[in-house]
Every structure is written in C-alpha cells, then in structure tokens.
Symmetry: C2
Subunit: 411 residues, 2 copies
C-alpha cells in the first residue's frame, strides 16, 4: 500500500458511489480522513470535510500561464540524497506521492500533471505552504508601517501576556525564533501538535476532551522553554499567532487580506478557502485550500518581485525583504540534514545557494519552489504517507535542481 | 428583536473581532447558528459552518446583468394579503427580513439591495430554492430519456423498497404527490424534519443520538401514509430521493451536474456550493449556497426558455415541461391560503395566473420569482425569523405583483 500506484484513491474507490459503500467512506468523525491511504483522497476534498471561509478571486479575468509543454523533462535524471543510483524525474513524482505538479519556465507551463484524486480545478490542502502566504502578508504590513517587527507580540495580543509568547517580538514569531515548548512530531499521538489541531477542529475531539476548544484558547496555553531569538525552531503556533496579529492590525480576516491583496490582483483562476475553527478563526498555520495553478501563479509573482502581467501585485521591497531569508546560524542547530546552509525567514525556506532558491513547504510534500537563476517555478501538491519533509526532500530537492540545470542548459 | 433593524447582524456584532467575544459567537455545536437573530448571520456564512462541495463556475467570463437602476420602485405600493392599509415596496423589504434583492427587467438590473450580513459577493443559504434546481435537472434528464418518470423510484434506488417510497414513481416524487408520513413543522422540535436534518448533519446531534447518521439511511426509515399520487404534500425527503435518483442515473454528483449543465454555460459569476452530510451526500432538499446575482441569472435564463446571452443553456422543451406546472386539484387540499389556484410541479411553485408566474421558494423567504408577462425576474435572499412562507407571502407576493404591474405600465 505504501506506493503511489497501490494507494491511488481513484482505483481504491474511496467515496465512489451514491452513497459510497461503508468500507469506502472517508469521514472526519472516525478520523479515517487522516489515515493513509485515505488522506490521498481527503487532501483533494478538504472543503467537503470541514467548515471553510472562501477567498474571493473577484470577477476579473485570470492571469494566463501559457502552455508550452516540453517532452524532455521526464527523462531528466538526478541523484536522490543518500542514494547511489540516479532516478528519473517522472519516477520521482510517484515516489513522492505527487497529486499534481506544474513547472513554469519564464512564466510558461512547460510541464503539468495530475494524479490520484486531484484535478486541475480542484482544491488541495496546502498545509504549511499556507505559512508562506501569511509570512508574505506580514512582511507587507511591516513594509507599510502597519506592523513594527520589533514590538512585542502583546502589543497586538494582550491575551498572550502570560503565555510563552508573552516576551516574544513579532520578528521572532515571523522568523520562528521563539523558544516555546511544542512538539510537532506527527507520529507521536501525545505530541502538542495534536492538542493544537484538536483545539482548532482540524482533528476530531473526543466527547470528554477538556482541552481548549479553539485556536486562540490553545495559543494561550503554550509555554516558553528557553530564550527567544537564539535559535530557529519550526513551530506552527508561531504562524497562528502571526495570523492573529495580522487580523488585529488590519481589522480584516486573513481571507479578506488574501483576496484583496493577492488572489484578486494576481488574477487567480479559482476562489481559494481557509479552514476555520469552531468560532471562525482561520488556521493560519496550515489551512489554505487552493488549485495548483494559483500556487504556481503566486510563485511566479514572487519570482518576478511581486509583478504578474502588467500588475505590481506586491511591492518589490516586500519581496526583497522576504528574500533576505533568515539567520543561517540560528537555523543550523535545528539539524535539517537535507537542508544544509538553509535558513527560515518570513515563513519561507531559503536555500542561500547559487540559484537563490527559496520555497514554501507543506508536511506531506506540498511545495512552491522558486529558482530565480533558472527562471523556474514549481508548484506541487502531494499526499506522502509520512508527514515529514526529511522523507520527501531526497527525491524532490535534487530533482528540482536537476530540472533547473537542465532548463539553463537547454534553453 | 423581531424586526429587521433591531436584528441586524452587523449592528449586533455577531462574530466580529478576532476572536469574537463569547456572547457574540455563533456556532453549530451549541445550535446558536439556527436561532434567531443569529440565523441572520448564519445564512450569509454557511460555508463557514458546514462541510460543502463546490459547484465550479469554470474559467469563462460571467454573463453580465447590465445595471439600469430605477429610482421609482421604492414608492410602489401594494396591499399586503389580509391588510387594509397599503405598504410601500421598500418597507416590504425590511418587513420580510430581506438580506438581498435583485430585480431584473428585460435582463437589466433595475434594483439591487443588500442588507444585514450579506454582500454581493457572498453566498447565502438558498434553502428550498435548491429544490427547483434539482427539479429542473430532473426534468432535463426526463427530456433526455435518461429518466422515465413513470418508472418506480426503486428502479434506481432498490434500497428504498421497504420504505414509504417503495411503491412511488419518479413522477410522484418530482411533483411531491407521494403520501409519506413526514411532519415538516419547523416549530415542533419533535417533527420529522429534525430527525431528517440531524441525520444529514444539518442540525447537530447529541452524543447519544441513535437515529440515522446520513441522508440515505434516513430516507430508508420514511414510511408511507395514504395513497401515492392523489394529493400534493410538500415533503423535503422527496427532493432528497430525487437527488439520489439523479446521481444514480447520471453517475455524477449534483455539484458536477449543476456545474456542467447550469453554472458554467449560464456564465455564473461565482462558484456555488452544496451542503453535504458526513459521507458526502448532498442536501438536495435545501443545501445550495450561491450569490444572489447567480440566482437572478438562473431565473432570467428560465424566463428566456433556457437561453442566456447567445447560449441555449437548457433545452426549450425542458423549460416548457416545467412550466406545465403541477395539478391544481391535487394542490388545493393542502390548504395554502396565500396561494389560491397554485400548483407544485417539477419542484417549482406555479401561480397559474394571468402573468404565468412561477417561483422557487425557501422557507425563510428566499425566492426566485419569474413573471414572464412583465419580463421581470426577482431573486431574493431573506432570513425571516419564522420558517414559514405563510408569514412571508402577505408582504412579498402582492409586492412582486405590484412591481410587475408598475413595470408593465411604466415601460
């Protein structure tokens, strides 16, 4: 079952039929929606499982991503991290349980594939790719002077005074250098991430669950552990705190900000949506649903320093601030063996390599990968059984780089 | 609290703030979402409360409804049913807790207003207006020969053999002349409608609820009471059965059918959505969410015998079959005092009057009102505190007629 072919949701018949047979039902209440291989269906049908808030694309035309398909990419070879044998690009897609992938070169769609339960008009869960959207909005508000990154979190969220965020600055939250006690090991059912997700309604609660019942209640229970600002530590609550700050500072929901500042001006082709908790609070840490080509559009707009078509969607200075990345010295101790020399800043992952690569990453292999040197953007949705990029990077990062090198050579 | 001004959700501050104050939260789990005045907010934020399946408008341009606002409509007067004093058109809007209203004359928007929690880009719950969409699809499949209305329901749904639908024909379901035991009195907490809505996840279930857990399980519990085909009786399960038949006959979800056959070809301006139960079964009886102007587009397309712009969206013969209406003699005993001489057919309400009016109606005042003689279409969303059109008709039906007469006189 642990390969893409045998876990193909279409072939397994999940949720087919009217109604689906009992053995093929995928539900939230019995947690089947989160189990592999069912999650290969769930991630492409998320709005059917949870309450969501729409992100309005508006009534304008969408920005075209002209199709110039190339047939030379499937055979591009790369060496997976830690492997001795090379692998072909097309084999890497199934290896990583890819649900959809678009490669843009100079803004043209040179490669596009959909697998499993995903179609080109379907939303997919973006998971932590969501964070990079939230970080981009935050960098924008900093640029506009609406947010001062040196101010404390409690300037906007006094409710967090007694929490682990009580002594943190907005900048520390934005670059995830807060020191909080938070275990994000998905494989451990006792990890804090589950308490967090249950509070937000992302994971079902048992009837006798006495834990917090919404994101904002949960965030107030997070405690400090160590000194803020010294090290990078990837902790999803930082993004939920940042989302909270953005709402207070803008007096808008994240959905409204995303719609007005990104989806509408960039010419998205379909409404997106954000998962919300029981009191309408958006899951900034991972709740974005979008179609793949809109992720590609966003990546292309980032690559072009905020411009898409004739439109300056995001000010150039905002993109430049984001692309400064984070502090590599603070990142190194976190021990990401597949990301040597990288950093995390403004909720983006920065390679600091000779291609100036930076990327948005989701825990099941979702990604926006921007390679400015190769003028290449990759948007990918995936539903890898293991929620850990350390499992996914070996067959994706070198594959992306090989594609970039190929494009530079063959253009 | 029982007038539109004092129940205005914006002024009451429901769900404002990040997070909203405890007293201003609206949730499904505590059933506050269904209470008045909270429902004035809920109906305009339904996707934020429930799982839904999107209805894809596609990537094409939307059909324009050109704006030619008239300022002479607010002063149009009519006599409410049972009243001695006349009422102005604009007063009728607040009287009926209108959330949004569009009046089209010859396809132009001559009047458009939004109130309460609704904006022009927001979905509103259509409630039983949904039924008229489902009935239209059914009439279409009959026209195409995919459905034979004289065949029994169990030709498609053998699971219903032992239920009250076991002896019914598709035609009886389509025109709601089945004889089933089903109490649709919303005011009575013991009424069958609540068991139905709890099964579908439309209303929250208590932890010890042993009742059916999805629509299809519920429908199998409905029992017969009387002889099918003799009388009209408005019973929502008929539409859910019809929706089930449509899915089996087309091998598509209702969302797919709505998207391909209506939303895309008519040039809708925004995706719509359908509420679904815990196993993804769509609520055909009342689960459509849409923006108001798309309801107006649909009404205009119906008025023009299936054509909108240069496109024949629905075959003329389908519209003509729908417009034959139902059997007035079978309708009369149901005792709708505000609808003398009317009938129900193909899940539409037919006035059989000198204007050939027919209309889609939702239980809190939602409506698509088509007046072919006056070349007028009205689309309205409302959130009346009382779930009963008998309370709403006195200030809407004569108002619509007065507007129609005014337009005929003044054009």
């Amino acid at each position: 079952m642990h390969d893409a072919r045998s876990s193909d949701p279409d072939k397994l018949g999940w949720m087919k039929g009217f109604p689906p047979a009992k053995a093929q039902r995928i539900m939230v209440s019995d947690a089947s929606a989160y189990r592999f291989p069912q999650l290969r269906w769930s991630f492409s049908h998320y709005q059917e499982l949870f309450p969501t808030r729409p992100i309005d694309r508006g009534n304008g035309p969408h920005h075209p991503l002209n199709l110039s398909l190339r047939d030379d990419l499937d055979a591009v070879c790369f060496k997976p991290i830690g492997a001795s044998e090379p692998m072909r690009w097309d084999d890497s897609l199934s290896k990583n349980f890819t649900d959809g992938i678009v490669v843009l070169h100079r803004g043209h769609r040179i490669y596009e594939r959909y697998f499993g339960a995903l179609g080109e008009r379907q939303h997919h869960l973006c998971a932590s790719v969501t964070k990079s959207f939230v970080g981009t909005l935050a960098a924008w508000l900093v640029h506009d002077g609406q947010l001062d990154p040196h101010e404390p979190v409690i300037r906007w969220i006094p409710e967090l005074a007694k929490s682990g965020f009580g002594q943190a600055t907005i900048e520390q939250v934005l670059h995830m250098t807060t020191a909080i006690r938070y275990d994000e090991t998905y494989a451990d059912p006792e990890a804090d991430i589950w308490k967090h997700l249950k509070a937000g309604g992302v994971f079902p609660r048992s009837a006798d669950d006495q834990g917090p019942g919404c994101f904002t209640d949960y965030l107030q229970t997070v405690v400090q552990s160590g000194t803020h600002g010294e090290q990078f530590a990837y902790r999803t609550p930082n993004t939920d705190v940042l989302g909270w700050i953005l709402k207070r500072a803008s007096d808008q929901t994240l959905s409204e900000m995303m719609a007005e500042r990104i989806w509408q001006p960039m010419g998205a082709e379909r409404d997106a949506a954000l998962q919300i908790d029981s009191i309408g609070f958006e899951f900034a840490g991972g709740g974005l649903l979008a179609v793949l080509r809109d992720l590609a559009r966003f990546g292309e707009m980032m690559r072009l320093e905020g411009q898409l078509g004739n439109r300056q969607v995001i000010p150039k200075a905002v993109i430049r601030a984001i692309r400064q990345g984070g502090d590599q010295k603070k990142f190194a101790p976190a021990g990401y063996t597949t990301l040597p020399g990288w950093s995390y800043g403004s909720m983006w992952w920065h390679a600091h390599d000779d291609h100036d690569v930076y990327t948005a990453r989701g825990v099941h292999g979702q990604a926006i990968y921007i390679d400015p040197k190769a003028e290449m953007v990759i948007a990918r949705f995936a539903s890898h059984p293991v929620a850990a990029n350390a499992q996914i990077d070996p067959h994706s990062l070198p594959a992306y780089r090989a594609l970039a090198d190929h494009l530079i050579r063959e253009s």
